[in-house]
Symmetry: C2
């Protein structure tokens, strides 16, 4: 698992090297859900404490989480998403939307993303360009570094 | 790494259980880039053959890739994204966009997503709802199963 992906110019590979791990992704999900303390993460994920400590340290090192002293004067430290971490929202949404569409049996209960301002479920989101266009896999290709 | 995430009703956790692994994500990226054969994946990723074989088998089992006989009568088998696999395009795009924004130094070369119909780079994509609205992390929350 420690090998460097072959192409160092690929943004997908760079991101995967930083967050492409089950526990890192679930910690980031939990952070978006408002979880902040080590023991809360530990209880929610059922993860071994040493693994959790290592993943939190890596996410802080990567600039995705930052450590804050808890509000209210308690001795606890809290882990909070940085702006760079908040920018992973689309990634968590895309994981969520694919799971909703493909990983549950019909009628099987699952959690739902809610618009906090209206209380209504967020409808299926899709990627659009700044001019409102949509992009599909079949119409996209990757231009490698050095290609014309 | 084999523990089940605590909440089986979370779509993020379901998806992460299926594709939340560095090699699986890079194999899916390669499949979108048109790579189809075992030896092509192996060469592109620099991955051990036994690990590649296991990941490909898991992705076929999950219904994300399917096995086809190669066109042109060759004896090779090819791995092709199913419709369910194609629906991971947003996930790969979100990994790519975050990497472009946060994982390269200014001016550092990286590959670019191209609109195949125009040859132009795809602009930064953002998630919009069907009525054209945007959703931000701060305005979203998750309603768990059983909550009113």
């Amino acid at each position: 698992m420690s090998a460097q992906p072959a192409d160092p110019t690929c943004p997908v590979a760079r991101t995967v090297d930083i967050v492409g791990d089950k526990w890192s992704l679930l910690i980031i999900r939990d952070a978006f859900d408002g979880i902040r303390r080590f023991n809360q993460f530990q209880r929610d994920l059922g993860i071994a404490r040493n693994i959790l400590a290592a993943r939190l340290r890596d996410l802080v090192h990567a600039g995705i989480l930052r450590v804050e002293n808890a509000t209210g004067g308690s001795a606890y430290q809290e882990y909070v998403l940085t702006d760079k971490g908040e920018d992973l929202f689309d990634l968590i949404v895309s994981l969520r939307q694919w799971g909703q569409a493909h990983a549950f049996a019909p009628g099987e209960p699952h959690s739902v993303l809610i618009d906090a301002t209206t209380g209504e479920p967020v409808p299926r989101l899709s990627y659009t360009t700044p001019d409102g266009g949509r992009i599909q896999a079949r119409q996209a290709r990757v231009r490698k570094v050095g290609e014309p």
